[in-house]
């Protein structure tokens, strides 16, 4: 039998080890994200050396980007930061959606929030072609769909969930709404004049080349992350026990509603600034769950940092692989995402 003393000290060690591991993972991922941004600044059709980079950085901070390096850096840094916040936001939304639906195969787009954004954005491109209005319309479309879903699946969200339920009502409603949006998108693409078609297709695949540096996505991301970390333990319980999490003190109905609203807002934010970039919100949470375990206390911050870094790298590839030709970043994420996903899926099945 186990004697008490060694067991106790082993447990102490285990508690400290898991906390230490989490801190190290977060620090490493934060450094990696920073490195990916630096890498994105250096790489391009005209490369910048590291000393030039720091000189240019000082110029920018002073507010007088006069040299070529400084101008390039300003462009690349802005784009890299947009990529980071978009990737981080999408990944965070993905982890939340997977926990909400208790399905590791869910992604931020599964419920059609991005479909709503696409309808809004494409309609604006088709009828108005004012750049800033596209983003607003995308955001508006996403919010409208989120509220339609909320109305249709409110009872399902608030409770009335079967004991082992996986939210079939919400998922089914979302999938149907998403396919409705898909039909509208196809309709608009088929009647669009040729000169607008390219922009519309790029938006659909997800493209960061026209993104402007803005503060709002950062605010939304940080607010989402703060909420996620605060709710991480409850999210674990929801993922583990579904409705029975209530017997452990979780207000399941409220948590599910908050998760839905939060992930919808995050998705709307990401999609309206960069289009519906696929696979980030599915692959990165998956990979992180595989690497660091499913504990949301670590998974949420780790996945969001990894997702940001991943999209920065993917975007750097997208603009440098066929330079000066620029690819939409959604193509790169899908090209990386599909094989990674298949490998993981088969690995899961083997286990």
């Amino acid at each position: 039998m186990h004697t008490m003393e060694p067991a106790t000290s082993n447990v102490r060690l285990a508690a400290r080890k898991s906390r230490g591991k989490a801190v190290i993972v977060i620090i490493v991922l934060a450094c990696a994200a920073l490195a990916s941004v630096l890498f994105a600044c250096v790489v391009g059709s005209v490369s910048i050396s590291v000393p030039e980079l720091f000189g240019a950085l000082i110029d920018i901070v002073r507010g007088e980007p006069s040299t070529l390096a400084a101008t390039l850096l300003e462009l690349r840094l802005g784009r890299a930061l947009s990529a980071f916040v978009t990737g981080a936001t999408l990944t965070l939304a993905g982890v939340m959606m997977q926990a909400l639906l208790r399905n590791p195969l869910a992604d931020p787009y599964v419920l059609g929030v991005s479909g709503g954004a696409a309808v809004g954005a494409l309609a604006t491109m088709l009828f108005f072609s004012v750049t800033w209005l596209v983003d607003v319309a995308a955001f508006g479309g996403a919010v409208v769909v989120a509220f339609i879903l909320l109305g249709l699946a409110y009872r399902d969200l608030r409770g009335g969930l079967p004991a082992e339920g996986n939210a079939p009502m919400l998922l089914l409603t979302g999938v149907i709404v998403a396919s409705g949006c898909g039909a509208l998108v196809t309709l608009m693409l088929s009647i669009a004049p040729d000169n607008r078609l390219r922009g519309m297709v790029f938006w659909l695949i997800g493209d960061l080349s026209t993104t402007q540096m803005r503060g709002l996505p950062w605010v939304i991301w940080m607010a989402g992350l703060a909420y996620a970390i605060r709710a991480a333990r409850a999210i674990n319980l929801l993922a583990l026990h579904a409705a029975a999490a209530a017997t452990l003190g979780v207000r399941v109905g409220r948590l599910r509603l908050e998760l839905f609203l939060c992930s919808a807002l995050l998705t709307a934010s990401a999609v309206s600034s960069a289009g519906s970039i696929g696979f980030v919100g599915l692959i990165v949470p998956h990979a992180c769950r595989f690497a660091f375990g499913p504990d949301h206390r670590l998974l949420l911050p780790a996945a969001t940092l990894a997702g940001g870094g991943f999209l920065v790298l993917a975007d750097t590839l997208a603009r440098s692989v066929l330079a000066p030709q620029q690819l939409p970043v959604g193509v790169i994420t899908a090209l990386i995402g599909v094989p990674v996903f298949l490998v993981q899926l088969h690995h899961l099945q083997r286990k």
């Binding site: 186990h2 067991a7 106790t8 447990v11 102490r12 285990a14 508690a15 898991s18 906390r19 989490a22 208790r102 399905n103 590791p104 004991a163 082992e164 996986n166 970390i229 991480a232 333990r233 409850a234 674990n236 319980l237 993922a239 583990l240 026990h241 579904a242 409705a243 029975a244 209530a246 017997t247 452990l248 003190g249 979780v250 207000r251 769950r289 375990g293 499913p294 504990d295 206390r297 286990k351």
Partner: protein, 257 residues
């Protein structure tokens, strides 16, 4: 815990009608009834997962819906019948999650949580499975890990829906022994659903029979668990045989031989 005029319905069917029932510390109640008689529905209602169709469930004299959820989570634990693991948590994670009601603002588990969790796993003889992915466990192992989680929640009342399903004989007896100890030595109250009359009779101090049409019988196991009542409750004639000091329930006829 007590129920007052509690009624449960599913659609048009009345499962339980006007149940007035008291469960005291140290008592072990066994809920017996046919499939669909409302045993699990009753347990879910007691756990607060389902609203009563009439009447109320009280804990310490207060309606359970008036309790703050976290406070209630320190008073009663619930073991549901089936499990559906969507994510690959480790066994120890699922047990640690049961410490949630005690963690307040703490983000990580502390040493005490881990000690409680490992003790619970060892009590169910699954200490060596702590690091295993719950989705790779066998049905019986998963069931024992789930019971360990209920144990780690450390509550005065335990609601167990078929705790012995999927367990092998030795572990069924181990779990029954554990439940008996919880009631007799630690003064906890247990309400469990079970289909094994003999196993239940050995451990239960009291029994609640759900007749399936709204009628019910509650009382000390020795009085309630008699062949006539059990036979009416389960819809099959039942006999008893004596084996040493033990009473064994058997089906009165054997139609398939």
């Amino acid at each position: 815990m007590q129920t007052h005029e509690l009624s449960l319905r599913v659609g048009e069917r009345v499962l339980v009608n006007g149940l007035d029932w008291r469960v005291e510390p140290g008592q072990c109640w066994c809920v017996i009834g046919r499939n669909g008689a409302g045993k699990s529905t009753l347990l879910r209602t007691l756990a607060g997962l389902r609203d009563a169709d009439a009447g109320e469930v009280r804990f310490d004299g207060r309606d359970i819906h008036r309790w703050p959820l976290l406070e209630l989570a320190r008073k009663r634990a619930y073991l549901p019948q089936g499990r559906n693991d969507a994510f690959s948590y480790r066994a120890i994670d699922t047990v640690l999650a049961a410490r949630h009601p005690y963690q307040d603002a703490r983000y990580w588990d502390d040493d005490a949580d881990l000690l409680t969790a490992y003790d619970a796993l060892r009590a169910l003889d699954v200490g060596d499975l702590a690091e295993r992915d719950v989705r790779t466990l066998s049905g019986g192992e998963r069931q024992r890990v789930a019971i360990a989680a209920v144990l780690a929640q450390d509550t005065p009342l335990l609601l167990l829906d078929e705790p012995c399903s999927a367990l092998d004989l030795a572990h069924q007896i181990g779990v029954m022994e554990l439940i008996a100890n919880l009631c007799r030595k630690q003064g906890k109250a247990v309400i469990m659903v079970s289909h094994d009359l003999n196993m239940s009779y050995g451990v239960a101090s009291h029994a609640l029979l759900l007749m399936g049409d709204g009628r019910w019988h509650a009382g000390a196991a020795a009085e309630i668990m008699n062949p006539a009542l059990l036979g009416a409750c389960l819809g099959y004639p039942i006999d008893t045989v004596r084996h040493g000091s033990r009473t064994i329930f058997i089906p009165a006829e054997n139609r398939y031989e």
